[in-house]
């Protein structure tokens, strides 16, 4: 977090500094350029006026004095030159002397044009801007008017405030940097919270949640994190409950078997009691066997990698087979079945799994029905689905328990646990198997009146 924070902050501060430096340089450059241009313009104005004083012929001392008089009134330096040595008159002869104007400038001046120079001038030993005006008569360069202004003065003018400028630029940068620091800190705070929350999560604190303070991407990320954390916590709770239940469910039969087993071993019980104890041991062992089988079934079902083979099945046959297997159980409670099957229905499924679904549901119906009642089972087509309805006249399920009825080891009446012989896994398995068949399971119930279980399974598509 420190790193990304530092990176963003550094980048923004760098941009700010670069922008300020660039603006400063540009301003300085423009200022100088404008000032130079302005100076040049005023020089040309002055030069043009002074040029009019020359009426032709030789350049006289009086004219030179008159032109140089101008220095008194102006901040520009003005002087007139008539010395041909200075005017490069001797070119093309070689000149071992640094003349005031060069041969090229002389050519321009001879045309009557003024010449502007900006740069270091050996003669004045400084940077100057100068404009040279010719005094030409009959193609003769009789003299020149030389006007110059030291560039240093211009840059000095520009540089006077430079310390102030640099100082304020630094302060401005610092203030901006501080603002940016606070800003980024504010923006990244949720990320920091998320980071520590993730760390807590990975240490097993599944109750960790973060505050959702905004609706931006960061806020959405926080929300998603909270949902994820809730899901993980729920899963964790379920896992714990499941394990607790499994061990509880197993411990009771084991303590029965162990207790009665020891009693038999040490001959504490004899005769008929002994026989009953033996029966009890066998019954509890069967319970354990069934429990472990069902657990295995659940684990296998939840493992999605397990491939289940599907093929076309006549639904009514499978339902009949399930009823047949449970006939004895129903008879013992004087419960009879009312059936109505659509023989045309063919679904794509696994026979064993489908049978398991029906057995579990019908077994539940028998278990929670009163003696001498009826269970109606019907199959029908509805659009592309096969619908199987199993309705009993049993004790029903309270509304508050209905949503949890398919959870593992969930029992409507906790105390009633083993008395009714259920493991609490039946409906979990049913739900899982229905899902495998791409169908869905709905349970409607009213306490005291009965329960209706509806299973929808897609029919086999007509080829």
């Amino acid at each position: 977090m420190k790193k990304i924070f530092a990176k963003i902050w550094g980048l923004i501060v760098l941009f700010i500094v670069v922008t300020i430096v660039f603006m400063y340089v540009l301003t300085d450059y423009l200022y100088e350029q404008l000032y130079v241009e302005d100076t040049e313009a005023s020089m040309i104005e002055v030069g043009d006026k002074l040029q009019t004083k020359y009426k032709g012929g030789k350049v006289t001392d009086a004219l030179i004095a008159e032109i140089e008089d101008y220095n008194t009134y102006s901040n520009l330096d003005v002087f007139a030159v008539r010395n041909p040595r200075e005017l490069s008159a001797c070119v093309p002869f070689e000149i071992d002397y640094d003349t005031l104007i060069g041969p090229n400038e002389r050519q321009h001046l001879l045309q009557g044009e003024s010449v502007t120079k900006i740069g270091y001038e050996e003669r004045f030993q400084r940077q100057i801007i100068s404009v040279i005006f010719p005094l030409v008569d009959q193609n003769r360069l009789e003299g020149i008017i030389y006007i110059y202004y030291p560039l240093a003065k211009i840059t000095e003018l520009a540089n006077e405030e430079v310390l102030l400028l640099i100082g304020s630029a630094i302060i401005f940068s610092c203030i901006l940097a501080a603002f940016v620091y606070q800003g980024i800190k504010h923006i990244l705070r949720p990320l920091k919270e998320l980071q520590s929350a993730v760390e807590k999560m990975s240490n097993g604190e599944y109750s960790t949640r973060v505050n959702v303070s905004s609706k931006d991407e960061m806020g959405k990320l926080s929300e998603a994190f909270n949902e994820m954390a809730a899901a993980i916590e729920r899963e964790d709770d379920q896992q714990k409950t499941f394990l607790a239940t499994v061990s509880h469910e197993l411990r009771t039969p084991i303590s029965y078997v162990k207790g009665y087993g020891e009693a038999i071993q040490k001959n504490y019980i004899e005769g008929k009691e002994r026989e009953q104890a033996m029966n009890l041991i066998v019954r509890e062992a069967e319970r354990m066997e069934r429990l472990t089988n069902e657990l295995l079934e659940l684990v296998r079902g939840s493992n999605e990698n397990t491939a289940v083979e599907f093929y076309p099945i006549v639904l009514s046959e499978t339902v009949r087979e399930a009823i047949r297997l449970l006939k004895n159980q129903a008879d013992s409670k004087d419960i009879h079945f009312v059936t109505s099957f659509d023989e045309q229905i063919i679904v794509e499924g696994n026979e064993e799994k489908l049978k398991q679904i029906f057995i579990n549901v019908i077994e539940n119906a028998i278990r929670y029905s009163n003696n001498d009642s009826k269970i109606s089972i019907l199959t029908k087509m509805m659009k592309d689905n096969a619908v199987i309805e199993i309705t009993d006249q049993g004790i029903g399920i309270p509304d508050k328990d209905l949503p949890h009825i398919t959870e593992r080891f969930y029992r409507v009446k906790k105390a009633r646990s083993r008395a009714d012989g259920g493991s609490g896994l039946g409906l979990s398995i049913v739900e899982q198997l229905v899902k495998q068949h791409k169908g869905n399971l709905t349970i409607q119930s009213e306490v005291g009146k009965g329960t209706k279980v509806t299973i929808n399974i897609p029919m086999m598509e007509e080829l």
């Binding site: 030789k58 010395n83 041909p84 040595r85 200075e86 008159a89 001797c90 093309p92 002869f93 070689e94 000149i95 071992d96 002397y97 001879l110 009959q138 193609n139 003769r140 360069l141």
Partner: protein, 317 residues
């Protein structure tokens, strides 16, 4: 067949075009002329004594000066060229090329001795050639030898960037004497009648020269300083008048042989050269690219010539 014709035609054109630079307009043997050597547009323009143009020779090479050799030859040289070319005037053809090496400042042809003297500023020497262009001798002189004049078997060489004039025996090219002169001296004229030698110059540093130094032709002693206007560097004379151009003041002076001013007049812009043809004085204005013809101190004709007329050559037949 047509192809062959075309090919021959093209070949002919190429040959003609190739030859074009080698041949210039010819100058009649019996034609007197004044020739203006321009250096900004390297060329020589020939005018008859009336100031009418006879011929223009435009060059691709950066010649900076020329010298007439006898009546029918002209030698062209350049300070940045390492060779000098000799053309025949009557045919306009190049006769020969002399390897001079870079730095030729001046060429002087001595008619009696029939020798060519070439001054060189790279080697600081003067080299003698016979009039066939064969090298004879070379003598190292002072810094930047340039202006030359001769009299009575002696060659007088002004060392432009030095303070000495060299007196050289033309026969064997041996140094005979060295006389003190001003720096940046340029232009030399010998007046045997007065036993003097006149030395002009630009002036040293920022100070323009305003006089002509007159030295004793035998001893080299300064005998007089003739006051002129500014930068006298071009000389020309006839029997009894000396003409001097002052390029710093754009003035032409006419003097007697003793140095007394007869008249003076403003002429041209930055004139470097003056010459006499028949009874006319010709001045070349370097900055205004004009030739001025004067008679009795009055300008009789002004003609535009190629840019940068720097030197005037005269042939009278």
């Amino acid at each position: 067949m047509n192809y062959i014709k075309t090919f021959i035609f093209l070949l002919l054109i190429t040959v003609i075009a190739g030859c074009r630079d080698e041949k210039f307009s010819s100058i009649n043997h019996h034609q007197s002329f004044v020739a203006s050597v321009s250096i900004l547009e390297p060329s020589v323009t020939f005018y008859n004594p009336l100031g009418e143009e006879i011929a223009v020779w435009n060059f691709n090479k950066a010649y900076t000066g020329a010298a007439l050799i006898q009546q029918d030859r002209i030698l062209l040289y350049g300070h940045q060229l390492d060779e000098a070319d000799i053309y025949e005037l009557s045919s306009g053809k190049k006769l020969q090329t002399i390897k001079t090496g870079i730095g030729t400042t001046n060429v002087y042809y001595e008619e009696k001795e029939k020798k060519i003297f070439i001054a060189n500023s790279e080697r600081n020497s003067v080299t003698s050639y016979d009039d066939k262009g064969n090298k004879l001798n070379e003598l190292e002189l002072r810094n930047y030898p340039m202006s030359m004049a001769s009299y009575n078997g002696k060659l007088y060489v002004v060392n432009y960037k030095d303070t000495l004039l060299s007196v050289v025996n033309m026969e064997n090219l041996k140094l005979e004497a060295e006389w003190p002169i001003a720096k940046s001296s340029n232009g030399v004229l010998i007046i045997p009648e007065e036993n003097t030698i006149w030395i002009g110059g630009h002036g040293e540093g920022s100070r323009p020269n305003q006089s002509i130094d007159v030295l004793d032709l035998q001893t080299g002693n300064l005998v007089d300083k003739i006051k002129v206007s500014m930068m006298p560097i071009g000389f020309s004379r006839n029997e009894d008048v000396v003409y001097i151009v002052n390029h710093g003041a754009n003035e032409l002076y006419a003097m007697d042989l003793k140095g007394n001013t007869l008249w003076k007049t403003e002429v041209g812009a930055n004139p470097f050269s003056v010459a006499i043809i028949e009874d006319e004085v010709v001045v070349a204005g370097y900055d205004d690219h004009k030739l001025y013809f004067l008679k009795n101190g009055q300008i009789t004709k002004e003609i535009y010539t190629n840019k940068g007329p720097f030197q005037l050559l005269v042939r009278e037949v």
